[in-house]
Symmetry: C2
Subunit: 169 residues, 2 copies
């Protein structure tokens, strides 16, 4: 699909059709897109935890308060920052650009997606780190839920001229 | 252009052709794309400062240590977070997704772009706030430099299997 179409077509999908798996090839396309995002000083300080086993998806369900759609959705990608590689604090921004690429690529592939916020909510960070045994220097930024959409949402243009400041505040 | 092409074609462009303006219509397309990015709880806690006047571009040049390409580039968009709207701390991530949409839309439109990091480097945040009189609750996340590319960079696939963890760390 055209980029200008996909950017508006991407919507937060919270209902999924069960039983339609996300394939290895699809996961690789999503993660290649993620790693094509820019990072400060080209640090590439991201790491990705992919879950498709039902028992692991259920663990996530228990670790995140708004992950209810993971009962049906077949795949999540937890986007994490490696704080050993980034001592400045650019990693949440860089990982969010990677997350956005995942969501756009999913939309382009005809898949539904939603970004569940984790960082900086300490209780969500700790619950996910504990559930999946993440090392101390790995912090989950957010969760991309991926699957076949079980709801339709129309593309949305949210342009708001009040948020645009030209030359001065 | 196709989304899957644009995601890889987007590269950090640090040389620009002087004298080719970015039009009002182009700026609006870039900002509409920015505001199509998701935000936590749909807060839309972003604000955008667009600079095209040479005297303001020169102010930015003085306020950011790596903005040398702004001597030639005709347009910058400073992506900011409104911390009155977001008390959790999701704004750097949300504004980074908006930034990524700007970079991708610029690429789609045949324009070059680069993301200059600002937040959380306090000295850059303060210099930009002071230069442009930003209110206390508005924090600059980063600067999107936009213009006609003066250098060519090939699309790059940075997929790294070592950063992918399947089911467990």
């Amino acid at each position: 699909m055209q980029t200008a179409e996909v950017i508006y077509k991407r919507r937060s999908i919270r209902k999924y059709k069960p039983g339609v798996p996300v394939t290895d090839e699809q996961v690789k396309k999503l993660l290649s897109a993620a790693m094509a995002a820019p990072t400060a000083r080209n640090m590439q300080e991201w790491e990705f935890l992919v879950l498709r086993d039902r028992k692991n998806l259920d663990k996530l369900l228990a670790a995140h308060p708004y992950a209810g759609m993971v009962k049906e959705a077949p795949c999540v990608i937890i986007v994490c920052g490696n704080t050993n590689k980034d001592t400045v604090g650019y990693w949440p921004g860089d990982c969010s650009a990677a997350m956005q690429n995942i969501l756009l690529m999913a939309t382009d592939m005809g898949l539904g997606s939603v970004w569940l916020g984790v960082y900086p909510r300490e209780e969500r960070v700790e619950a996910i780190k504990k559930a999946f045994g993440l090392p101390a220097h790995i912090t989950p930024l957010g969760v991309a839920v991926i699957g076949t959409a079980g709801e339709e949402k129309a593309p949305e243009d949210r342009y708001d001229a009040a948020k645009v400041h030209s030359e001065k505040w």
